[in-house]
Amino acid sequence: MEGMSTIVKKITQLMAGLIFLYGIYIILHGHLTPGGGFAGGAIIAGAFILLILAFGNSALNLKKEVAGSSNIESVAILMVTILAMMALLFGIKVFFFNFLPKGTPGELLSAGAIPLYNIFIGIEVAGAILTIFLALVIFKEESSK
């Protein structure tokens, strides 16, 4: 895949950073405002997809990226599962028990384990969507050789 012109590349660099930050904001405020892990993760994946579309594979080593993103999503979803079983460590034989203190509703650090779930789900979703996209792009590259 060819990269695009210099103007597009410059603007994309700026935009991708902003979109990335917005995705992080959406994930972190998932328990306060609309959004959450799924929306934020998809937004972050969108930022990366934008970069890949603009720069093409000349600037990026796609094979390495896909291995990285698939590893990251594996780690993230493993963390979600471990988080679900975390209450077992506290002697409560219940899965998905919200074991952290709830805090004051409406503040950033509240809602117990929910922000943690949001963060890991967000990473997982971003990794998964990126993996799907990269797998498609790599396949297109290799099969048209």
Binding site: L32, T33, P34, F38, T104, P105, G106, V125, I129, I132, A135, L136, F139, K140, S143
Partner: protein
């Protein structure tokens, strides 16, 4: 009730597409249409007149909120839809590279 009936019409349009279209991409599109109609149906079910969006302002009491459960279900279903579309696209592009067409009449090694 009209809005529910229109929702079902959208579902039927998708069903019609799945049955009659002969193009891999068009079939994937028809599946998306069916998904959309079900998402909308579920959210319509959970709507309550004059209800607020399900985000509570901690200070207030006695507000009516729309049902959050169908929304959570639809969120799950949207992600499932993304997953199925991705799988369909992966297969479609592979079949295209093998046969140079999306037309399922020309892709016929198997007969059910």
């Amino acid at each position: 009730m009209t809005v529910y009936i229109l929702c079902f019409v959208l579902f039927l349009v998708g069903l019609y597409g799945v049955i009659t279209r002969r193009n891999l991409i068009k079939i994937a599109i028809s599946m998306s249409i069916m998904e959309f109609s079900i998402f909308l149906l579920l959210v319509l079910i959970g709507y309550i007149d004059n209800g607020l969006a399900p985000i509570v302002d901690p200070g207030t009491t006695g507000q009516v909120y729309v049902d959050p459960l169908p929304q959570a279900m639809v969120l799950t279903a949207i992600v499932i839809g993304l997953a199925t579309t991705a799988m369909l696209m992966a297969i479609a592009i592979r079949l295209y590279r093998k046969y140079k067409t999306f037309d399922i009449r020309e892709i016929k090694n198997l007969r059910g």
